[in-house]
Symmetry: D2
Subunit: 242 residues, 4 copies
């Protein structure tokens, strides 16, 4: 079955976020925040322990240094800064796995860093290099067919092309930006159909009505609230039976 | 010769601090700030590269999360928080060494965390455990004869008892707190004599005039300014010829 | 009727905390976080607007610079640092009131800063001075009969002695520290009885069974969850009819 | 004589930056960092006292929330966020003036916020509105002929068009971006000539050799190092005698 991944460990101090425990049974990989856009050492420790219990693949989810903006606001960092901030965060998270005798499975940049890495080649190359330099057998998760997955493949990293159930696509394979009204798919049935089409046919219908090819190694699910957990459960069930 | 160590990598963004390049030739071990009280990913990366060039032992210098206070203000953290914040910072720093195919040599807590770990047993035990869980062959640096070195020894860690050239000692072997007038030894000759006595006789003269036994595996030097670098050069020369 | 106050505006970026809208109808004064332990400029702006709508007294709730610890961990700051960090935060919050043609009503330190100011005279004096220097007609809220209220009174500030419905008291009038099992009153009826006794008789029963005198100008209520809002509603109703 | 302004108070905790005391005698206005990109409450307090002693006009210098990047990296904030973060910082700084019975003279955004406000109209409007809402008699400093000065003028704020001695201009009146080789004027004589031409003729020579009209109400000088202070001294002397 195709990999299902979810962003977790996004609490911060006393601030609780996400239904981490509830989403775990329905995903195969989790991406844990590393303290720059969300997460703090104690939250990371607790989330790693939880993920071990559920035996899911554990990945680092490095982000921009901006808790107030939750790592969703672009910051004009240099490619060199991207390299060092990703390396720092991967190392910080893996420390909690090492303490349990484990190692990281993958790395997926978060939010604005993910989107910047999808489009800006030099940034993408530096992020991929940070992953490679830390451990060349790590898997790099990135937007399907983006600069980031290309950079990873060129370096010889294993790469997972990521697709979204609840986001619409444009004719060039990029996601419709959130500033557009039709960026997000609210209709659950439509989201399910998009996933099934991607998985079965390797194609997705774009906002203009065209059907384009898309690589899909992993699907991003959300665990923010009760509805998103219910959706994850449904998708997980359907994909088990596709 | 006895180990000489120095705290380095304490710049932060555009803020430059310390004469890192100038002090390197005179020390055998360096403790690099990890981003919580000083240092940032780019500074850490640069400092690790510099330390490699000088072939000194590289250690992590984890501190409290307080750049404004430079990690020198006590924060009432729980022992569990001490565990996770030390583990996080060790992992973050080692990432930059791993990218060069190297591993960390030691860990020395910074500032208020160092002082708290010297006196509070449960905190000390948790910090030692974090070091051990990350890598049991790491060496733990702590105030000579303190709770921290004891906690490390009990766990089976290699430990280095640290002494100071420019700080006065009390009869119980603890440092005179900085709030006291006679806490710091400004007179260079007196500081040199203290070091020589410690190294040759294993004894130090206290503020009351007594002479007490003290274990000394490593001496802490400073690299803040031109004078401190000159002092490091002198001490290094003298110890080579003791 | 006695003043009822509540800490509000404690969200941070996307992290939501507290039932601000639900508690507003039952309190007469609110203390708004100022960005150091909780709150951010946008949250402060929104909370000030909400408080205006409900026509409650608006106060600043300055805290220690520690979002991860929610301002609840003591940090060993100097009295001078206490002065500047309180002054900074009062000014920052009042800016949002000024933009509406209003001014602040009071200041109440938060968490660890509140507790430190209750016991450490020099810190208390500096905090009171910051309030006075900003605006001598501001009201200072502090733990009833503490160093902080004393410092405010000596300076000539109007002061409100604060009491708690759900915390137990010791024979010297101080709160039982949270590290003790009997620190918090979970039983709603018991909390109500404590409030009624304080308001009607100016006395409170301590943990040893004694009854001591206590000054009470304002009662601190919580708005964290549905239960705390229900409790606020009950207390508010009872006090209207005492 | 034309106003000369300088950015000050850019130290942060133990990190010292800038020759604040040395530049003061040669400028008429200072812009003090407010804690988001540089500065902290204690530094702000000290810098306000220093500025009073030298009897210069004191302005707020609000920046993006990014100490590591010194506020020089663009962050994609919303116009509403720009409004609240400027309002917050103006209030915070004015608190230190109020404690001395004074009020702010002007506001000048810092770094990336300054540059974004020069080009993005909605952002500029919101920043100008924050200044106006805090105090409509404040003076707004912005890049000469930019979106920010226009927004201020439309609101009815007094505005000062700022020019630079050591930056080159393009034909449209904008500064040559720092990413271009010829962005900065290193040659002191050339910088002086540019200032004199601007002040005497209201014109500046652009990088293409054209001469364009430019409004100049204030000149930005730097106080980073000994050379910049010497340059400020020279410029100040020349302008006194123009």
């Amino acid at each position: 079955m195709i990999d299902l991944n979810c962003d977790l460990g996004e609490s911060f101090g006393i601030y609780q976020l996400g239904c981490d425990k509830d989403i775990m049974p329905f995903v195969s990989s989790v991406n844990i925040a590393c303290g720059f856009h969300a997460g703090d050492p104690t939250t990371m420790h607790r989330t790693v322990e939880l993920a071990h219990k559920f035996e899911v693949n554990i990945g680092a989810h490095p982000g921009l240094n901006d808790v107030i903006g939750f790592g969703r606001r672009s910051i004009k960092i240099t490619p060199q800064e991207a390299y060092t901030l990703v390396l720092y965060q991967i190392g910080a998270l893996e420390a909690f796995l090492r303490a349990k005798g484990k190692t990281l499975h993958h790395v997926k940049p978060h939010g604005a860093l993910y989107n910047m890495a999808a489009k800006e080649e030099e940034l993408a190359v530096n992020i991929a290099q940070a992953v490679y330099d830390f451990n060349p057998s790590l898997i790099l998760f990135g937007l399907s067919g983006s600069c980031l997955t290309t950079a990873g493949e060129k370096l010889g990293l294993k790469v997972r092309h990521e697709v979204f159930a609840d986001r619409t696509y444009q004719d060039d394979g990029s996601l419709t930006p959130r500033s557009f009204e039709n960026a997000v798919i609210d209709n659950e049935q439509q989201a399910i159909e998009q996933v099934v089409q991607i998985v079965q046919q390797g194609k997705v219908k774009t906002v203009t009505g065209n059907s384009i090819s898309i690589k899909a190694d992993t699907i991003c699910l959300h665990g923010d609230n009760v509805n998103s957990v219910q959706f994850a459960k449904k998708i997980s069930h359907i994909l088990h039976n596709v």
